[in-house]
Amino acid sequence: MAVRSSVGVTSCAGQAQTSLIIACGALVREIQDVLSVNGLDSIEIAAIPALYHNRPEKIVPAVEAHIEAARRDRRFRRIFVAYADCGTGGDLDRLLARYRDVERLPGAHCYEFFSGVEAFSDRGDGDMTSFFLTDFLVRQFDSIIIKGLGLDRHPELRDLYFAHYEKVVYLSQVPTETLLAKANAAAERLGLDFEHRPVGYGDLRCHLEKVFIEDGNNIVD
């Protein structure tokens, strides 16, 4: 399964043969797993830097560039966007409305679809003071959270960012002892309580399987 991060797709003559998932870099590993267990290895993934987690205004232009490149490429019969709204305030939906048949993942952010959109909604304001981590964010905690928020250079900013949070909730996909220990350490570093919720792939798996299998769009010949 090919994962690429550039929008410079080489043109390829002939009929559209496969599908493309334009994905947040934070989801690539999990998407690869879902595709792999379903025998959908021919589907390509175009990764957008996960660092945009902290700069959501960059997400829509990046997704648009990938969609345009993929349409020029003509190899892709179906394009799917593996993002929730992710802080774009509806801009991602406005972009996708311009393209026929390009869908995205459900919900407001990855914490929602990993938890299951319905389960997340049921919690209401119960998670208002929770700071979420996923497997990816636990692995990349230092680069995305600590460095991304400038806490490596200015640790005194921690309480400004996290003053109103009460706990770190680790929404684990495939938890290991190492990840659990890292997640715990992350909570400690942020001065927050810790909770582990083993949610697996949640609606990410269901949704990808629905799009690429149940809807009959699996075009692997």
Partner: protein
């Protein structure tokens, strides 16, 4: 030796040089230097309002522009804001007794379900710096809290902030309630927050979308001036 030569003695600078240096110190988030600079200007007989506007607000204006242009990022803006806050702490009691021109009163809060207040606090500080009286309701503010504060403080404006896509629709709940109560037109409504945009602000019925703290101040001044003109013409 080089360090000694590079050290700048703030008290030895002329007024203009000191103000320029304070802009730089704000940019670099240097709290102690800002505190010292404010104290020196006051000792030299500067009016508190002039120290605020010329040294602090003007300095933060540059920070705001560089943030908008992607030169500075959130951590640097927070450090600058913290430095400004130390200056404000000295000036606030003096400003209360001064003849600084009143701009209006704003009740502001992060909406229900949302605990993010970094942007709101920055707006509050810049509003205060621009001469507005700020009543900050904090985080997770529901419509009843907004209504109670409007009743108590009789503001000219309300400001609502949200960081989450899931919480920003609550702004419409507040605005619709103001309409139901028949007080919407008595107030200027400003909204802001990372996932918002102009279209959203229009859709929920706000008067202005404030992309950042500097824009919030500009919009507030502009809308207040328009309101005064309308009232004068009525």
């Amino acid at each position: 030796m080089a360090d000694e030569e590079d050290d700048i003695i703030l008290s030895e600078l002329s007024d203009d040089e000191l103000v320029e240096q304070m802009h730089q110190d704000l940019y670099d988030g240097l709290k102690e230097e800002i505190q010292e600079g404010v104290t020196i200007l006051l000792e030299r007989g500067w009016a508190p309002y002039d120290v605020l506007t010329k040294a602090l607000v003007e300095g933060m204006h540059v920070v705001g522009i560089d943030f908008r242009d992607g030169i500075l990022f959130v951590p640097e803006v927070l450090l600058a804001a913290n430095a400004m806050k130390t200056g404000m702490a000295i000036l606030r009691p003096l400003l209360a007794d001064s003849d600084a021109p009143p701009q209006g009163r704003i009740v502001m809060g992060t909406v229900k379900g949302d605990i993010h207040d970094i942007g709101k606090n920055l707006v509050g500080m810049m509003m205060e710096g621009a001469g507005f009286e700020v009543v900050d309701l904090g985080i997770n503010t529901d419509v009843d809290e907004f209504l109670a504060a409007i009743d108590e403080h009789k503001p000219d404006m309300i400001g609502m902030s949200a960081l989450l896509t899931t919480t920003m629709p609550y702004m419409k709940v507040v605005i619709d309630t103001l309409k139901e109560k028949g007080i919407r037109d008595d107030l200027v409504v400003l909204v802001g927050g990372a996932p918002l945009n102009e279209d959203f602000a229009n859709a929920v019925g706000a008067d202005a979308y404030c992309r950042d703290a500097a824009v919030a101040v500009e919009k507030a001044k502009e809308l207040m001036a328009r309101r005064h003109n309308q009232m004068a013409g009525a």
